[in-house]
């Protein structure tokens, strides 16, 4: 059975990270415009979550941290060395862990679910799986693409 090539994993990480940037940027822009993301399936879950005190950390909308996190993950997809593999894993691990916590908060503290936040949590879970697979399979291996000088 042939294993996934690192290039395929890198492309998948780049694609999912780009989607994540889009989702997080939408939430951040909606907040910056004094509004809240619109739940596509209707309901007021997105508005409720956006207006809760949990949506901001030190006065900054957490979606902004999401944009930065996804952008760094995207950057790791462009390199094929151990630093990029490990950094991608740690970033995705942090994002995944925080997504688990935020989903808990939505369900049990805010008692409302924002579809956009859920979408971001799903994307971060996929990224965690991809980055973990990349590290487990390719840690210590020479890069599939030229390493940085």
């Amino acid at each position: 059975m042939s294993r996934l090539s690192e290039g395929t994993l890198q492309r998948a990480i780049a694609f999912v990270a780009a989607l994540g940037i889009g989702v997080a940027a939408y939430i951040a822009i909606a907040d910056a415009n004094s509004g809240s993301p619109v739940c596509l399936g209707g309901g007021d879950g997105c508005e409720t979550v956006a207006r809760s005190s949990w949506s901001h950390l030190a006065g900054v909308n957490i979606a902004v941290f999401g944009v930065v996190g996804y952008a760094l993950l995207l950057a790791t997809a462009f390199f094929a060395d151990d630093l990029a593999r490990f950094a991608g894993f740690v970033l995705a691990l942090g994002g995944f862990g925080y997504s688990v916590f935020l989903t808990y908060v939505e369900l049990f503290k805010i008692e409302a679910v924002c579809q956009w936040c859920l979408a971001s949590a799903i994307l971060m879970t996929i990224l965690f799986g991809l980055c973990a697979a990349r590290l487990i399979i390719y840690a210590g291996a020479p890069g599939a693409t030229p390493e940085r000088a």
């Binding site: 007021d44 809760s52 894993f89 942090g94 049990f108 805010i110 210590g140």
Partner: protein, 234 residues
């Protein structure tokens, strides 16, 4: 360092990071769950009495009674006001049991904050409860659990959450998210009362087919006086 050594070291580091992340998430969840946010430790008195009093009477926003009732009685109150609390327990129940239940009058509670700034947070919390159809339950329970004026209890998050929970507010997260934005409405109704010339609580006004607009009642001292005013207005 060979590729195999590097691989082994990286995987050990990754396993350690994963363990730390798992521990961090668990600690965050435990701390959040143990927070005072659910108001569960605050004892709220009068739940059964308020539930019995309001049972079967429609509540919509801050209005109690049939929305189609011909007469609207407007109460301007301050949740910290002890006279309002006494009025709510001793005078209004008689009107609720008769004219409100019969659909002759609906009562609209509006905030007139005169005791202190804490009344604003309390009033906004009542409005957020009203958005979920529990406004009057919130107001009546708040009155029955009043503390000393401006002692810090009236806009205390845990106390307000406990009142909201006891009042039957179903979505406490939504209630919590909305109440901050409703302080403007509390200030608007306080200004409205001032414009009508009210400077004490509770103060009443009435609107009905025979009043020709809003009629100021001031402070009717008994249920009989209030009932007569409602009869006249209808």
């Amino acid at each position: 360092m060979s590729g195999a050594d590097r691989r082994s070291r990286l995987l050990r580091l990754a396993a350690g990071a994963a363990f730390l992340a798992l521990a961090a998430v668990l600690v965050l969840i435990v701390i959040t769950a143990a927070g005072s946010g659910d108001g569960g430790d605050t004892e709220i008195e009068g739940k059964a009495a308020v539930a019995n009093l309001l049972d079967g009477i429609p509540q919509r926003q801050m209005t109690l009674g049939d929305p189609e009732a011909p007469v609207e009685l407007i109460e301007f109150g301050d949740l910290q006001c002890p006279v309002c609390a006494a009025y709510s327990e001793e005078v209004l129940p008689e009107v609720m049991e008769t004219q409100v239940r019969k659909g002759e009058v609906k009562i609209d509670f509006r905030n007139l904050t005169i005791i202190g700034p804490e009344s604003v947070g309390a009033g906004a919390a009542a409005l957020a409860a009203g958005a979920q159809g529990r406004g009057w339950s919130f107001v009546d329970l708040f009155y029955r659990n009043q503390g000393d004026e401006n002692s810090g209890y009236a806009d205390d998050d845990a106390f307000l959450r406990a009142v909201a929970k006891a009042a039957g507010v179903r979505n406490l997260g939504k209630w919590d998210a909305e109440r901050a934005e409703l302080t403007a409405e509390v200030e608007e109704t306080s200004q409205e009362a001032a414009n009508l010339g009210f400077d004490g609580t509770p103060s009443f006004a009435i609107k009905g087919p025979k009043t020709g607009g809003i009629k100021l009642l001031g402070f009717p001292e008994s249920a009989a006086e209030l009932e007569a005013a409602i009869e006249e207005a209808g």
